[in-house]
């Protein structure tokens, strides 16, 4: 079904000619609010993914996550954020033309035949933090960071994707929803139902992803929202007024089992391959009190990134191994909302 025509001007392309600017080769996935196709940008032969958002399906018009995704991706141009190449409409459907990213970090973490060197982990963490830093300096919170939203380009670059839950850092008097971020990566202030929070929720997620990269298994896999609190505090200690002033005023803070904070030795045992500096950074990103958690700037300037080994060049990072069945090839690009 590939169709062709000439290149027309970017961004505000008229509906009529745009369908001919890209080929839509095959459908690779279908979610509740979008269908994803693989295709090619005719003029550059560049591989692309077209996310066709079903409008008219929602009784309230354009879907909120579609609005968010378009709104924020239009503003965020960065090597570590998925590129929104174009937006166009076909018969009242919204089409997002995104760069083609064949794999994601979750796929690699789960593939036990691949060995992660500590320099590889450093490289992925660095790219994640750079992307997050770019969001935060534009006053945008991602609010759904997890390994399968960290997509990998053929050249090894890591790209933050799925901005369906993102939002601008609100005014201080504005309430935010605490029901964000996929459970295992949800910061304690969100678990406690905080209505005001900051970029620290994203940093927590990155910290948990860092831990998962080292462990090769989810660090805090709670079975449900209640269990998530238990799992989190068993690993990192139950927050008290001493270490987190005013924590007991948060809506969901009650009847907690009290676990002591882990000793340095316990963490060393759990993350046996981590250097002292890696452990320092992990601890800094997973501080229970969000105001003590490091921000993206101080994380990027952390000594961990200065000590040997140097982060692996993106194009030398481990890649997904070729699978025999081509039908599985695109698993990573198919995004289904988990919330």
């Amino acid at each position: 079904m590939a169709t062709e025509l000439q290149e027309s001007r970017p961004r505000s392309t008229p509906t009529s000619s745009i369908q001919l600017k890209y080929s839509k080769d095959r459908k690779v996935g279908e979610g509740t609010y979008a269908v994803v196709y693989l295709g090619v940008q005719i003029s550059t032969k560049r591989k692309i993914a077209i996310k066709e958002i079903k409008t008219g399906l929602f009784k309230d018009g354009l879907d909120m996550s579609a609005i968010r995704e378009v709104k924020y991706l239009q503003e965020l141009k960065h090597p570590n954020v998925i590129e929104l190449i174009d937006v166009f409409s076909t018969s009242n459907n919204l089409n997002l033309v995104l760069e083609f990213l064949p794999c994601d970090l979750e796929v690699l973490i789960k593939d036990t035949s691949i060995v992660f060197k500590s320099a590889d982990i450093k490289s992925w963490l660095l790219m994640t933090l750079r992307g997050v830093h770019h969001c935060h300096r534009n006053f945008i919170l991602h609010r759904d960071l997890k390994p399968n939203n960290l997509l990998l380009a053929p050249d090894g670059q890591l790209k933050i994707a799925d901005f369906g839950l993102a939002r601008s850092l609100g005014n201080p008097n504005e309430d935010l929803s605490s029901n964000v971020v996929t459970r295992w990566y949800r910061a304690p202030e969100l678990l406690f139902g905080a209505k005001h929070y900051t970029g620290a929720v994203d940093i927590w997620s990155v910290g948990i992803i860092f831990a998962e990269l080292m462990l090769r298994t989810p660090y805090l896999p709670g079975k449900d929202d209640i269990d998530q609190l238990d799992v989190t505090f068993r690993a990192l200690g139950t927050p008290t007024e001493q270490i987190w002033p005013n924590v007991s005023n948060l809506p969901q803070y009650n009847a907690l089992r009290v676990y002591p904070p882990p000793s340095r030795q316990e963490l060393r045992n759990r993350f046996s391959a981590a250097t002292e500096k890696a452990l320092d950074l992990l601890i800094s990103m997973t501080q229970l009190d969000p105001s003590r958690r490091c921000d993206s700037t101080s994380a990027l300037l952390h000594d961990y990134f200065l000590e040997a080994p140097r982060a692996t060049n993106p194009n030398e990072l481990p890649q997904k191994r070729e699978k025999k069945k081509p039908s599985n090839e695109d698993d990573g690009t198919i995004k289904r909302r988990k919330l």
Binding site: K71, E75, N171
Partner: protein
């Protein structure tokens, strides 16, 4: 560090070029608001003219179709009343100036609608912004502002996380159907070139409120008659000023949000704002900023200032910077004051807008009127007898 030291250090580090520091201004310059929706006065005017021309073309076409259809249906009347039914005399299309006036007046309705729904300021501001951007691409002679206004409010509410269901939105409005809004939502998004993030002047205004305190009150008060209360009331009045003037005018297309915010402070209290700028940018506080002549506040002068800025040394650079800034915000204040249409003028434009949108009704009415006199006369005669 002196200039020479800086240079020599730069010389040493030449081999390993340091990554350029990215300032907030750099980030702003990459925003869609700056890239797609910021204009000079001339380019904004041109954009409006272009939208108006498209509108005129569409309205003309629509008129011609209706005219020819009715002419075919009523050949005799068109023959008898050639002059009354002359195509050139039936409707007068709107100029781009008239469109602008009408759109600005309509923004007031957005404010009322948003207030009626008790929506946060952010939603109100974004709705106005979406509405105005729509009419940089389209004409009111193609899309009547009423439904575009409601749809802008509905879309802005979603975009600013203040979701309201279509039913509850509709149920509190008069004469609007669900599909009126849902059908237009997409069209608006398209006209916006799919950009939704809007930076407003209120956040930077709050920033200036804090910085005024830091600069003018700490560690000790700089002006004997300026206290935290003075600044608090200045801030409140500046907010009001933004609501009253800036948000309805076109300044958001011409200036950055911090410039507009500073203009609001300056419009309310020139003395305090000038002192703040002096304290912040100038070592020599005796420089008399008030002496900047008003009549020089135009673009050409600014260009000259920029030249001077490059040529001169650090301290006079700062002075020039400050002067350029003041000129810019003065210009912003000037352009915030709208030439609002009178109610009669508004009504007249509204009428012509409707006529352009529904030429068939205008022509039909005229045809009926011309065909009717006999019946009307008989009617009158019957009542009088």
């Amino acid at each position: 560090m002196t200039e020479q030291e800086k240079e020599s250090e730069n010389g040493r580090t030449e081999e390993v070029p340091k990554k350029q520091y990215i300032s907030n201004d750099d980030l702003y310059r990459r925003s869609s608001q700056f890239e797609l929706w910021s204009f000079t006065q001339e380019s904004l005017e041109a954009k409006k003219k272009q939208a108006n021309e498209i509108g005129r073309r569409i309205a003309k076409q629509r008129f011609d179709e209706a005219y020819n259809k009715l002419k075919q249906e009523n050949p005799t009347i068109f023959e008898i009343h050639k002059q009354e039914l002359d195509a050139n005399n039936l409707i007068t299309l709107l100029s781009h100036e008239e469109e602008t006036k009408f759109i600005h007046a309509y923004c007031q309705n957005i404010v009322q609608t948003a207030d009626y729904f008790r929506m946060p300021t952010q939603v109100k501001l974004t709705a106005i912004s979406l509405f105005k951007k729509f009419y940089l691409e389209n004409s009111i002679m193609e899309y009547h502002p009423k439904n575009i206004m409601y749809t802008s409010v509905f879309l802005a509410a979603k975009s600013e996380n203040y979701f309201i269901t279509i039913e509850s939105f509709i149920s509190r409005l008069k004469d609007v159907k669900q599909e009126d809004i849902l059908d237009l939502e997409f069209k608006i998004l398209e006209s916006l070139k799919f950009t939704l993030l809007v930076h407003h002047a209120f956040r930077p205004l709050y920033g200036f409120f804090l910085d005024f305190q830091a600069i003018l009150l700490h560690p000790s008060p700089v002006m004997y008659d300026v206290s935290i209360d003075t600044l608090g009331s200045l801030y409140d009045r500046a907010k009001k000023w933004l609501n009253e003037y800036a948000i309805l005018s076109d300044v958001a297309f011409l200036f950055t949000p911090p410039q507009i915010a500073l203009a609001a402070m300056y419009a309310i209290d020139r003395r305090i704002t000038e002192r703040y700028l002096k304290e912040k940018f100038l070592d020599d506080h005796t420089v008399n900023l008030e002496s900047i002549p008003e009549h020089n506040d135009d673009v050409k002068e600014e260009d000259k200032d920029n030249e001077a800025l490059k040529a001169s040394n650090e301290s006079s650079n700062q002075r020039e910077y400050c002067i350029t800034l003041i000129r810019t915000i003065r210009k912003c204040i000037k352009l915030s004051k709208l030439d609002n249409p009178t109610p009669e003028e508004s009504k007249e434009i509204g009428k012509r807008c409707k006529a352009a949108l529904n030429p068939d009704k205008v022509i039909e009415r005229r045809v009926k009127k011309l065909a009717a006199p006999t019946t009307t006369t008989t009617n009158t005669t019957t009542t009088t007898t």
